[in-house]
Symmetry: C2
Subunit: 348 residues, 2 copies
């Protein structure tokens, strides 16, 4: 049994990954010792969690109540009017929130307090975990980036003969579907398209298919690849080839003078992608891992030794760094997935 603020954060966690560039938020309204309204922000551009909760309770019933919310209520006019204003209007007596929105100039805290609402900022570790990547993403105007790699225990995604199916076990695949489900887009390289011919969809009940993003500097695209033949999600191709064109209605070509990680990420953020997953071969994977622009690194390891010369080691760079200048990560969690290990890391 948890307290109300915990419950509000749980609601936020339930919608993590479906709010694009907006933060996931949950709200609970309590009056006379009972929950009278619950809400979550379900989609960018739609009602905020606070408003959903007020609507569930009925605006006429919330006077004198307490609202618990995972993030500080907003005080600005965005796609919807400010929540702080609505909270004041409906006579909610007290607001307790778990994280400060550091990306906004004006604060809902102050607006509500000046209107006589009792406001408490009560920092919470689960809220911090939830919002820290979002704040960084908003500041840098790039999406939250997760890099996913499946490899042998000696760090290879395939043999030197490019054989790669199946290194990890089928349960890892299920876990990857879950991972895809919580991202707006999947980034891969044209090399992976040619070697693996993946569909990059989410094969689970009521799964959300992320937009597929293909990186191809040269613009040499194998148009018979499987993913051009389903219309489950739109496709973007980033290229330095200004001549590249397509007649496929679900495919859009994005020309960039220089197809580099930061330019691609900034463009994706502009297009509204808040969370992207990189699932690619050594080339694209290494570009992202060395970019310092990623948040999560999920590594699935099968306890197998591939050997060879390591043409498909997942991390390869031209630059040789000094040992005390390496990219470092913090291990968030390790778990067993059947016979494989999953290591969830965050950039340090």
């Amino acid at each position: 049994m948890t307290n109300y603020l915990d419950k509000a954060i749980t609601l936020a966690e339930m919608v993590e990954g479906q709010t694009s560039c907006n933060p996931p938020v949950g709200a609970i309204i309590v009056k006379d010792g009972r929950i009278i309204g619950m809400g979550a922000h379900l989609k960018q551009g739609e009602r905020h969690a606070e408003i959903q909760a007020i609507d569930m309770a009925g605006a006429e019933h919330v006077e004198g109540s307490t609202m618990y919310v995972s993030l500080e209520p907003c005080s600005h006019f965005g796609k919807t009017p400010p929540c702080a204003k609505r909270i004041i209007e409906t006579g909610i007596a007290r607001v307790i929130y778990a994280a400060r929105d550091v990306t906004l100039p004006a604060t809902g805290h102050r607006m509500m307090e000046e209107a006589g609402v009792k406001v408490d900022y009560r920092p919470h570790p689960r809220s911090e975990r939830l919002y820290q990547p979002f704040f960084e993403s908003k500041k840098s105007e790039t999406p939250i980036v997760t890099v996913k790699v499946s490899a042998s225990i000696d760090g290879k995604q395939a043999t030197d003969h490019n054989e790669s199916q199946w290194i990890t076990n089928p349960d890892v695949k299920t876990d990857v579907f879950q991972l895809r489900h919580h991202h707006d887009a999947i980034i891969t390289g044209s090399g992976t398209l040619h070697s693996d011919n993946p569909s990059l969809t989410v094969r689970r009940e009521n799964g959300h298919h992320p937009t597929r993003v293909i990186l191809s500097r040269s613009g040499k695209i194998q148009w018979d690849a499987q993913l051009f033949h389903d219309h489950q999600a739109p496709i973007f191709i980033y290229t330095e080839n200004a001549q590249l064109q397509t007649s496929l209605s679900h495919v859009e070509i994005v020309y960039l003078e220089r197809c580099e990680v930061s330019a691609i990420l900034k463009d994706l953020y502009q297009k509204g992608f808040g969370r992207v997953l990189v699932e690619a071969g050594p080339n694209v994977t290494s570009q992202f891992l060395s970019s310092n622009m990623i948040t999560h690194f999920i590594l699935y390891l099968a306890p197998k030794l591939i050997g060879g010369q390591g043409l498909n080691q997942f991390y390869q760079t031209d630059e040789i760094k000094k040992l005390n200048h390496l990219h470092q990560f913090e291990i968030v969690e390790t778990s067993l997935i059947d016979t494989n290990v999953k290591i969830h890391m965050k950039r340090k």
Copy 2:
């Protein structure tokens, strides 16, 4: 990260203890791989979880969607129209639920299936845990009963001189407030009123104060007891004394020819109490523990030896049972609360 059915059950668990004789229910509506509505049944007589979720999504947007719900949607007219009917009308394509409502003659499953909705019953252990006590309670027309005892490690609630404050530590008190919060009423004996003079309220932020129920066969009531002087929650006095009266507006006298556990529980259920907590001295505690009408038994043990003749052992009976006929419990969970042990048991 959990699946949608888990999330629906989490919503139900959030409102456990605030739905009186109704079951706590949670619902999630999913369309195109995203949550478009969430709901929970917040109070007996108010909208069911399914309707809350449809309202949040907007009835015009749910066509073709999937609803995940912790309990089978109802098909009968109660205080609200049947959820199954509303689901059919709005064009929801599929319903997945985690527990069957075995207390109702007609089923929502059948009604929806006959109308062309795809319906799946997908049993879930968390849902079973949530609803089994509720089903038993409904069948027996008695509330779900939790007995709470704080005792020394040798099983005594007080010394032979009736000294009892404090045997367990202050953190146990906080845990007891949480426990009270999730019950509609607290039952105690007039003896406890005299010896401990408790207020039986919930001293936590936005706590819900349960109704106080006092058992007094004789009707000898010490009217200067603390709880008669606050109006935080109503008070019922069950007595065999037909003469007992009061002028206090928040106190109601209930005369029963025989003030026995089963009669009291049936009367409380009739009055709308779905969950009651017994917090009393050895006499009342023993009556309930030996009644076979309780679901949960929460025992807080302080690692202290009280000794004496054991006048205040928490369990005392006139009848001597054979060893193979004893009341038995199943241990659900044990936990440490600071220096004390909490043992949560269920009737076997």
